[in-house]
């Protein structure tokens, strides 16, 4: 069986990598009305704010002030503490008590004015308070960039060899797919990262050809076939072609046969190598 339109409707809606994989999602009783906006559907800013709230990260850095503080930090502090304040000749500042104990410069400004002469840190009393506050905000933004994993961004993930990727696709994919499957695939996703996830495991949302289907044989001998919207050990919910929903208790005599159009992908994911993944993504990215 061929899945000619496997990728046709993939609009790049899969979740971006956000560090959500290993952290707990804040979900509770499974009442959809109580659920907040899904993490995957948030904007980058909303994700960062959501993660900030979830982690209890405290005061929000003033980004505008931090931008003004960046050149001041580079000119005055980076030589000892590194450009990102992670330490050089002097210690890292991002895990320091002084920085983490401050919200918006109320303590740090005074500290910077005093310096730490005994340890080789000069006094910055000559700088205006406003500039010291901007340096403080710059430091808080460095902390935010580390502590708020909801604000992380992947780097340029196009590290593969496109020619090798083409070879891989020709050798491994064409028994099920045709070149039509891959036409313009590189322009269908918002980012390379979404392309990489999307070609390996296409989202099923809005793509009927990828829906999991089932044939349920009832004790009476009749059968129901359709899209599965829920399945557990005890119940299966099937919507047939006419749009009729069947909620079936999986009692004695009920036989369920489930068909997953992505079963072949599932099997192959378990052995896919990172190098092949990189190469194929690099190749598909060229198919604009």
């Amino acid at each position: 069986m061929k899945y000619l339109i496997l990728f046709a409707l993939l609009a790049g809606i899969s979740a971006t990598a956000t560090g959500a994989l290993c952290q707990e999602a804040p979900t509770g009783d499974q009442n959809p009305a109580q659920q907040p906006k899904p993490y995957q559907k948030m904007t980058a800013e909303e994700r960062a704010a959501s993660t900030r709230a979830f982690l209890g990260l405290g005061a929000v850095p003033d980004k505008a002030a931090a931008a003004l503080g960046a050149p001041l930090f580079n000119a005055n502090c980076a030589v000892c503490h590194g450009r990102q304040a992670r330490g050089a000749m002097g210690p890292s500042l991002i895990t320091s008590d002084e920085v983490l104990g401050d919200d918006h410069g109320e303590k740090l400004v005074l500290y910077l004015k005093d310096g730490r002469p005994g340890k080789g840190m000069p006094s910055f009393a000559a700088m205006p308070d406003e500039q010291l506050k901007e340096i403080a905000e710059f430091l808080h933004l460095q902390v935010e960039d580390i502590a708020n994993r909801g604000a992380y961004h992947v780097l340029n993930i196009l590290v593969g060899n496109a020619a090798k990727g083409q070879g891989y696709v020709e050798a491994h994919c064409m028994s099920c797919h045709t070149t039509q499957t891959f036409a313009h695939i590189g322009s269908r996703f918002r980012s390379s990262e979404q392309l990489q996830k999307g070609w390996i495991w296409p989202p099923r949302t809005g793509e009927d050809s990828l829906a999991i289907t089932a044939t349920v044989k009832m004790p009476t001998g009749s059968t129901i076939t359709g899209h599965v919207t829920q399945v557990s050990d005890f119940r299966i919910t099937v919507v047939d072609q006419a749009g009729q929903t069947y909620v079936i208790e999986r009692g004695p005599g009920v036989e369920v046969q489930i068909n997953d159009p992505l079963a072949a992908h599932q099997k192959w994911i378990m052995t896919l190598t990172s190098e092949d993944m990189h190469n194929v993504t690099a190749y598909l990215e060229t198919l604009k």
């Binding site: 509770g28 780097l155 919207t229 005890f234 994911i269």
Partner: protein
């Protein structure tokens, strides 16, 4: 008259006793803490072994058709909390003298076990910390111990809920936060901590239950002068190396050893700044509970770069191996390996994958899985397994000799988002690919092989944290659930589904069992509701 008066007095006393607050007599002898749970449940795991095995047999396969809800307690007075839209009971309840103690972040309830009615509630107003969960209280004499998100150890009067004293042990501004249940051993209240956002070192603190005085601190990473520093590039990396202690350990009173699982290394996904094994993160450590001194360690994930956060319970049990009685400890680790060790000395018997994985090139002479560097998170993405399990409790059955764990099989792409020489924080991220399969496994701890497996049918991917928890009983029951709101009872020996009941939410904390007024109960939290199940009369 005299006789009648005497009868009246006796009756009056009886009536007074029944009218008195049922919780007004809670008191536990420290020597009774951690004993096999029957009429009480005195520690996070019921006893010190981590087995979560109930010796009770009243509820049995033959009468499960009568198992039904006796009462529920629903949390209605706490609304949305920071980052948590609805309350979720993630604790294992304790039971002492007919009073149940349950928690969510910032709140403790004492509940009459006979009726499910509230006796008292304690509310804390936090100043920071992560409200991701709260695993329950500890108890000693007439004092209940509770940990807050912003790292306060609170001592409460078990009978009134009045605060006796409080002690802060970690700075929430450094992203330390607390979700743990304190573990009480004799005169020690042992407190673990969480928080891996800011590259801080993990530790365990032991406090005096009477005064709250600090008795000792054990750091998860070596300090100046320690030979284990050779597993770190430098002292600064070790000082910021993580290894949080947010799940309770287990304890062997005969050996007087405390077994604690330590969490993931920091920076989490970006390991390029910390070459080496990074002791004692990602380990099982055996400590002297009186001094906090390390006796032995076994590192389950040397140089972790996948947030394998080695926090599942080290379960203690004794078996005869090759004709010799052995004291063992087993763990279904989050890195996908099943580990069985001699708990006297930490030497390994079994180290074997229990989910499909290909990131290890073999075992070190000590039995530690050797990671393949190519599987580390990379800028272009690296495929590796998702966490094979999480904090929800596994169990052991003394009847079957098997360890039970709810596991996940599947893969994710791990990206390095900070490729600098000095990464910090998480430094990377992961996103699942393919279907993540939830599988209940019954593993023989002497071979590492699954004796039976139950794959939970599911359309959706398994949630990123894997539950529910597990309880086993001497009547061959295994109580757990799926992620579609069903509480399920299996036969522990064969994995057959014997019973199920749909709830309002997934089972979300620990499952306990006890005898109260002659009846065996199965009690657990699911979402914001505490459920008490027992055998119902046939005519009901």
């Amino acid at each position: 008259m005299r006789l009648a008066g005497s009868i009246c007095a006796t009756l009056a006393t009886a009536i007074l006793a029944s009218l008195a607050p049922p919780g007004a007599h809670v008191s536990i002898d420290p020597n009774a803490i951690g004993k096999t749970p029957t009429i009480s449940w005195t520690t996070f795991n019921g006893d010190y072994s981590g087995q979560r095995y109930s010796t009770l047999t009243q509820i049995a396969p033959s009468n499960l058709n009568r198992l039904g809800q006796q009462w529920i307690f629903r949390i209605t007075e706490v609304g949305a909390q920071r980052g948590a839209p609805v309350p979720i009971i993630k604790c294992t309840p304790l039971l002492v003298d007919g009073v149940l103690y349950i928690t969510i972040p910032d709140h403790v309830w004492a509940i009459d076990a006979r009726t499910g009615s509230q006796l008292w509630r304690y509310d804390w107003v936090d100043h920071g910390g992560h409200l991701v969960g709260q695993r329950g209280v500890g108890i000693w004499k007439t004092t209940v111990f509770f940990l807050t998100p912003d790292n306060w150890l609170i001592a409460l009067d078990a009978n009134t809920g009045h605060e006796l004293w409080r002690k802060n042990y970690a700075d929430a501004r450094k992203q330390y936060f607390s979700t743990a249940a304190p573990l009480v051993i004799r005169n020690h209240v042992i407190v673990g901590v969480g928080g891996d956002a800011m590259d801080m070192p993990g530790f365990l603190d032991s406090f005096d239950p009477e005064t709250g005085d600090l008795q000792w601190t054990w750091w998860s990473t070596p300090r100046k002068g320690d030979p284990a520093l050779k597993t770190w590039p430098n002292e600064a990396a070790s000082d910021h190396g993580g290894g949080m202690t947010w799940m309770p350990g287990t304890y062997d009173p005969e050996l007087n050893l405390l077994y604690w699982p330590t969490g993931n290394t920091n920076p989490v996904f970006a390991g390029q700044g910390r070459p080496g094994a990074n002791l004692w993160t990602e380990s099982i450590v055996a400590l002297d509970p009186d001094t906090g001194k390390l006796n032995w360690y076994f590192q389950v994930s040397p140089h972790d770069t996948h947030d394998f956060d080695n926090t599942t319970a080290p379960i203690l049990f004794d078996r005869v191996v090759d004709g010799k009685p052995r004291k063992l400890v087993a763990q279904a680790a989050r890195n996908g390996f099943f580990v069985t060790l001699d708990r006297v000395n930490g030497k390994y018997l079994v180290v074997k994958p229990y989910v499909p994985l290909d990131y290890s090139s073999g075992l070190s002479p000590q039995g530690e899985p050797i990671p393949i560097p190519d599987k580390d998170p990379s800028v272009g993405g690296s495929i590796n397994i998702v966490n094979a399990t999480n904090w929800q409790a596994p169990a052991y059955s003394r009847k079957t000799g098997l360890v039970y764990v709810n596991s996940v099989e599947g893969k994710a792409i791990y990206y390095l988002t900070d490729d600098s020489a000095q990464p910090s924080g998480y430094g990377g991220t992961g996103t699942g690919i393919g279907h993540l399969n939830r599988v209940l496994q019954a593993i023989d701890p002497l071979t590492g092989n699954a004796v039976w497996r139950h794959v939970y049918p599911n359309l959706d991917d398994a949630p990123t944290t894997v539950g529910p928890s597990i309880l086993t009983t001497a009547s061959n029951l295994l109580v757990t659930g799926d992620d579609q709101k069903n509480l399920i009872i299996y036969s522990a020996d064969r994995g057959e589904i014997l019973w199920n009941r749909e709830l309002a939410a997934n089972e979300s904390g620990g499952i306990i069992s006890y005898i109260l007024a002659g009846r065996q109960y199965i009690l657990f939290g699911a979402g914001g509701t505490l459920y008490a199940f027992t055998l119902q009369d046939k005519n009901q």
